[in-house]
Amino acid sequence: MQTRSMQTKRAARNVDIAIIAVLTVMGVLMLMPFLWLFSMSFRPAAEAYKMPPSFLPPTLDLSNYQTVLNSAVPFLKIYWNSLYVAVLVTIGQLVTCTLAAFAYARLRFPGRDSLFFVMLIGLMFPAQVTILPIYLGYAKVGLLNNPLGLVLMGLTSSFGVFMLRQFLRSQPKELEEAALMDGAGYFKIFWRISLPQLRPALAALAIITFTGAWNSYFQPRALIESQQAMTLPIAMDLLRGYMSQGNLSVVMAAMSMSILPVVLLFLVAQKMVIQGVTFSGIRN
């Protein structure tokens, strides 16, 4: 009996090892596109199409990166636009969503629940249903081809309000009530008590919002045509067009720089990023 259970245990261990081995192979395969693009960015442009493909950088020669910066495409300006949009959208959402979440979770006022319900409906609308009127409106007020247009339309989100409200409601109320008794104003309560309570949720929201804005493609593509106003995702086509004449390595150097902030964020704060992104999924 004893030996039999040991045998099954050993068999189970072998299964574990086999499965982990398969997972490891798959994991490496999953990373191939990233390894390839990174290693490609260091390959001399003349050898870009030479086979076999390399998955580790052959040299650490930065000349492809210099070529990107010196090219006809205003890469630095585009990079700046991406940062500008992603940072401002993130700050904007943190501010507007926190304020609203505090009101919806903690304050009583007529119409509160209906307002919140209307805000929730926003979770249902895909970006495709709002883009045409925004395009027409922006054309009227001169916000087409302007990164500011992308900022304005991203300053708040139903999701952010919803997520922070749910989080705040799960936090104890006693401190706030005590502060109220002591005569503190609502703004003071918000600032001193609720905001610190919200800190982990704010970090998650910041990560989701920043990566979302950094990766956004559909809306910039519809609203922006001029190179000077582009963000990185829509500039990739442009780069490909300008550099594809045998210059794959240069495109990949631009690509490496473009994905860098998100990759770094992920390497440093893996757990928080995963929690944030999956939370954005589990919104119901």
Binding site: T24, L31, P33, Y104, R108, P133, G137, M153
Partner: protein, 298 residues
């Protein structure tokens, strides 16, 4: 005295409430509510940027459901959604089952890195990489097929293969998301029940189908719905890999909408296309609400 103070407090609370809600609600109305309403109105018109709108009732919708081209695109989108959702959730589940065992922390970090990194990098970036992987003559994948003595595959240039290639990339990109969610669900399956079942000699398949699956089915259901809503809006990966071609074989509703709106300036018609998309998403959402209630009751 006490009464007055109470009503003051209520007034202050009301003022603070509206003040705090106003910024987000005004922005939301301006960039979501009003645009959605305008889109719906627009979809009943023939709209010309210089001459304004003509009310045409259901003409745009008749055109959409009457033209063979738009019907093809409609079915393309559903077909893509079906295969992408199946692939994403199925692979995600298999990975989650594989990952749900004791292993050293660094290994777990590596797996999370490998499977989740594609999730957080924009398809707009990685699709460019994949377009080189998929290239016929100088592509990475065909190079290795050649090494193995297999014929080259026209990944993106054949209307028979292109949709499959896009689904493969989509699964590569998104399956990690479902893996993570399903791992969390699997950890909620009570271990004592599993142990008792294996003590009674239940086979792994039986344990999976009788214990694990019922436990995680609400989460699985959520994954399917979430994946469907995302897949119905597919845009950047197709735009970059094939642009909707060859022919219309990979064109999705989103791409069609952008073509019609910003290529042909058929804004009224494009609005109708986006309303159709919205209705698709709405139907899926309603199925989710009804279904999850039923699953919870069951």
């Amino acid at each position: 005295m006490a009464k007055r103070r109470l009503s003051d407090l209520r007034k202050a609370q009301m003022r603070a409430g509206y003040l705090f809600v106003v910024p987000s609600f005004v922005l939301y109305a301006l960039f979501v509510l009003v645009p959605v309403a305008i889109t719906i109105v627009l979809s009943f018109t023939y709209y010309d940027i210089s001459f304004g709108a003509d009310w045409v009732w259901f003409e745009n919708y008749q055109r959409f459901f009457g033209e063979s081209r738009s019907i093809t695109i409609f079915w393309n989108t559903l077909r893509f959604a079906f295969f992408a959702v199946t692939g994403n959730v199925l692979v995600g589940l298999l990975l989650a089952l594989a990952l749900n065992r004791a292993m050293p922390g660094w290994l777990l970090y590596f797996f999370r890195l490998a499977f989740f990194l594609p999730v957080i990098i924009s398809a707009a970036f990685v699709a460019v990489v994949w377009s080189y992987f998929y290239a016929v003559d100088f592509g990475v994948i065909n190079y290795y097929l050649n090494v193995l003595g297999l014929p080259a595959v026209p990944w993106l240039t054949s209307s028979k293969v292109a949709m499959t290639s896009i689904v493969i990339m989509d699964v590569w990109k998104n399956t990690g998301f479902f893996m993570i969610i399903l791992v969390a669900a699997l950890q909620g399956v009570p271990q004592p029940i599993m142990d008792a079942a294996s003590m009674d000699g239940a086979s792994p398949w039986r344990r999976f189908s009788r214990i694990t699956l019922p436990y995680i089915s609400p989460v699985l259901f959520f994954c399917i719905v979430f994946a469907t809503i995302g897949a119905l809006q597919v845009f950047e990966s197709i735009t970059i890999l094939t642009g909707g071609g060859p022919g219309d074989s990979t064109r999705s509703l989103s791409i069609y909408l952008v073509d019609e709106a910003f290529g042909s300036f058929e804004l009224g018609y494009a609005a109708a296309v986006s309303v159709v998309m919205m209705l698709l998403v709405l139907i899926v959402t309603i199925i989710q609400l009804v279904g999850s209630r039923r699953l919870v009751e069951a």
